[in-house]
């Protein structure tokens, strides 16, 4: 009997069910879409920031000489002191948060003697990777990555081509690029060949950075090591990693933390813990966050995701009110039905059960549809805004359904009970 009533109600009152269902559907669509956006906006903005601002971690040898550097240009870069071994850098892809490391850029500052058009001059230079292929692992699990300075400095503007990373085997010319200020001073342009320490080098491009790099000559790392006379040596390494904004735990010293907290610290992608893990695989080095970038990124990330969460909350509240209001109206419309059932001898409990079962079924159906629609919508917003999809998040399905059912019931309970408290005869007569 109960089920027949339930089925008949859906079959006969299609228009009403459609209207109430539509409200729930739209409510869950908005909530699902906003929650999906809210949960993934952190990731998206993090990617955006990390690819925009470059390195947020720097690694240098522990027992180093003091850097004597002004405005990004090393003054008398010494050949003494200790170095990081270039070969060791593959180990960075073996740390716990290796997938969060998006780029690695080693640097070796040096002074070079540049002979061009009969004049000889000492100029500051840096050896670096441009599009270095890095291999990690062996056999079937072998992976390779392309790393280097261009990815680390997306704001560099290049006129010409990036130089080849390795000295050509066929004894053709080594390659390099010049900073824009240096190029203007030395009258260099792409295609020129200059002598650097009696090695012929072709300038393949001119780079403009808007900072100190404009004064430098940028060489492939191997060539710089050859000139300095330290094969495999690197003075410092810049690392760009996806990190979680710093919180109270991130600032703690891991050595003073109790084991459980220490594990949580170690397994959170804080800039500090990634730096810590880099130090573990590269002995005799010191790795730390570049606070200007890391702290700034953290602030922006927190603000934007906080904002989206609050907007999602507003969507949630609004949808809840709208759905509850439409359910209240939908039940009020059916006053007479309740009166008739009661007049025919149905108990309050059975009437309430029927109405609540109807509401729950309606909420489940509309909620599922709303979840699907909302996920699609979030996906297309992701494509539009970030050019990358916001994936389906199955965790949101129970949340969306639970919300649809709870809010719909909350909207119908008061009106059902209000109507039942009235005398059935009065309810029926009122509109007769």
């Amino acid at each position: 009997m109960f089920f027949r009533l339930l089925v008949e109600s859906f079959v006969r009152q299609r228009r009403r069910k459609l209207l109430a269902g539509l409200a729930i559907l739209l409510g869950t669509t908005a909530v699902t879409a906003m929650l999906a956006i809210g949960t993934s906006v952190g990731d998206k903005i993090n990617h955006e920031l990390s690819s925009a601002y470059g390195a947020n971690i720097v690694v240098y040898p522990k027992a180093d000489l003091l850097d004597v550097e002004i405005g990004g240009v090393s003054i008398h870069p010494g050949t003494a002191g200790s170095y990081i071994q270039e070969a060791d850098l593959t180990k960075l892809k073996g740390i716990f948060w290796r997938n969060n490391i998006t780029d690695i850029s080693p640097e070796l500052p040096l002074d070079v003697t540049l002979a061009n058009a009969g004049q000889s001059k000492t100029i500051p230079a840096v050896g670096m990777w441009f599009h270095h292929t890095m291999h990690y692992g062996a056999g079937s699990s072998a992976e390779s990555y392309t790393m280097g300075a261009p990815g680390m400095h997306p704001w560099w503007k290049l006129q010409g081509a990036w130089p080849a990373d390795n000295s050509p085997v066929d004894h053709s010319l080594d390659q390099a690029i010049a900073g824009s200020t240096l190029a203007a001073q030395q009258h260099l342009s792409p295609g020129d060949t200059v002598m650097i320490h009696n090695i012929p080098v072709r300038i393949t491009g001119i780079v403009s950075s808007g900072d100190a790099t404009d004064h430098l000559l940028l060489l492939p790392l191997g060539l710089a090591q050859q000139i300095v006379g330290h094969p495999g040596a690197v003075r410092r390494v810049y690392v760009s990693a996806l990190t979680k904004p710093e919180d109270a735990l991130a600032r703690r010293n891991p050595d003073t933390l109790p084991p459980a907290l220490r594990d949580r610290w170690y397994c959170s992608p804080y800039a500090n813990s990634i730096a810590f893990q880099i130090q573990e695989v590269l002995p005799y080095t010191h790795a730390e966050q570049i606070r200007r970038v890391a702290q700034g990124e953290g602030t922006i990330l927190q603000r934007i995701s906080g904002l989206m969460w609050l907007v999602a909350l507003a969507a949630l509240l609004a949808a809840a009110f709208a759905v509850a209001a439409s359910m209240t109206t939908a039940i009020l419309e059916r006053k007479q039905e309740i009166g008739l059932m009661r007049a025919l001898g149905a108990t309050r409990a059975s009437v309430a059960n029927l109405f609540f079962a109807e509401t729950a079924i309606l909420a489940l159906i509309s909620g599922t549809l709303g979840y699907l629609l909302g996920s699609l919508l979030a996906n297309s917003v992701g494509q539009q805004v970030f050019s990358s999809a916001i994936p389906f998040n199955p965790v949101l399905l129970p949340a969306a359904l639970g919300l649809a059912v709870v809010v719909s019931l909350a909207g119908s309970v008061p009106s059902v009970f209000r109507t039942m408290r009235l005398d059935p005869a009065a309810v029926l007569r009122e509109d007769a």
Partner: protein
């Protein structure tokens, strides 16, 4: 009383009051929906209007966005700082820097910078400083036989001995007092910072670099840049490209995201409200039929229903505007730590939106009912 009993025409106001009060629950439900829709619209529009400004402000966490240097590393003309301060305006911050390579007691080279600590403190929030050289330390130490207060970088710490240490530049000795350490993870860690005045007194050199933090979006920063180019023609003035370009991109993405959310939420709420109101008007087809049967014209009935909807929409818009402004204010406090003031400019938009929803919600069922004969309606469904 006697007037009401007379066969005079029943006033529209009275009918409306009756209609709204008689079915109080339903009127309240409709009012609630309209209030919520207005509140949501107000919150989102207020947030949206102040979003860019708030975001650009957050991006100042990255510090200076304009750098001024003298060509070839020579000192800037002595009045440059004053000109830049004037040109950049009161909302900008200017930090002067001057650098030399000095020798420690052991003859090791170390970079010493002269700067303005107060300005760094406001702009470079990422400087982790154990103790700033404040006014009192500066006072006492300068009177104390010319000892200069300084911040020592965490890496430089190992190269100077203790809190009191001497440095020499070009044969001029200087006694320094380390009031604290600075840690940034950048080149600052290898340097010693002292106040610019004492730096100039010691080395005879003035500032070589000015870092300017200009407020606002890319266009406003470009405006400051242009003014600076005109005011100080012989020096290099350029934007920190790393910051300015990325900032614009992230802000515009967030802007687009906010806009899509706004449209999505507003649409949902509007359609839900529409569904609720339409249902509640349709429910009153009997009232409609009775009025027509008693001789009202179609226009009179439509007017009554429309006026009711408009009245509810007005009340909803007023309440919703207040609620929404409050909500936007709270979001500003929680998320950006600065209040977002209510915007009176958006009040007409909110009102218009609400009226539109209410009129459509009342108008659609009226069109459906117009075609139906009152007798058919009254006889049964």
């Amino acid at each position: 009383m006697s007037q009401r009993m007379s066969p005079k025409r029943v006033s529209l106001m009275m009918l409306m009051r009756r209609s709204l009060l008689h079915r109080r629950t339903r009127s309240l439900a409709a009012l609630l929906s309209l209030t919520v829709s207005a509140a949501v619209a107000t919150t989102l529009l207020t947030l949206y209007a102040s979003l860019d400004q708030k975001l650009h402000k957050q991006f100042r966490a990255f510090g200076a966005n304009i750098v001024i240097t003298a060509p070839n590393g020579i000192a800037l003309p002595p009045n440059t700082l004053a000109i830049v301060r004037n040109t950049a305006g009161p909302d900008s911050h200017v930090i002067p820097f001057a650098y030399v390579v000095a020798q420690t007691k052991n003859g090791a080279p170390i970079v010493v910078a002269g700067t303005d600590f107060a300005a760094i403190r406001t702009v470079d929030s990422w400087w982790q400083v154990s103790h700033w050289p404040d006014a009192t330390t500066v006072q006492t130490s300068t009177t104390d036989e010319g000892i200069v207060p300084s911040l020592v970088g965490t890496r430089a710490q190992a190269f100077v001995s203790g809190d009191h240490f001497p440095l020499t530049y070009n044969g001029h000795a200087l006694s320094l007092l380390a009031t604290g350490t600075v840690h940034t993870g950048g080149p600052e860690d290898s340097r010693v910072y002292i106040p610019l005045d004492q730096f100039t007194a010691w080395t005879g050199l003035g500032a070589t670099t000015l870092e300017v933090q200009a407020p606002g979006n890319a266009i406003q920063v470009q405006g400051v840049l242009d003014h600076l180019h005109l005011a100080i023609p012989n020096v290099e003035v350029h934007a920190v490209r790393q910051l300015v370009e990325s900032e614009g991109r992230v802000v515009s993405r967030t802007h687009a995201l906010m806009l899509s959310s706004l449209v999505l939420i507003a649409l949902t709420v509007a359609i839900c409200v529409l569904a609720t109101l339409t249902a509640s008007v349709l429910e009153r087809r009997r009232d409609f039929a009775i009025m027509k049967a008693l001789g009202s014209t179609q226009h009179q009935v439509s007017l009554l229903f429309l006026l009711e909807a408009v009245l509810l929409a007005l009340a909803g818009a007023a309440g919703g505007y207040l609620l929404g402004s409050l909500f936007a204010f709270l979001i500003g406090e929680w998320n950006f730590s600065t209040a977002i003031a209510p915007l009176w400019q958006i009040a007409p938009q909110v009102l218009l939106l609400n009226l539109l929803v209410a009129i459509v919600a009342a108008g659609v069922p009226m069109r459906i009912l117009r075609a139906v004969e009152p007798a058919t309606l009254l006889r049964g469904e």
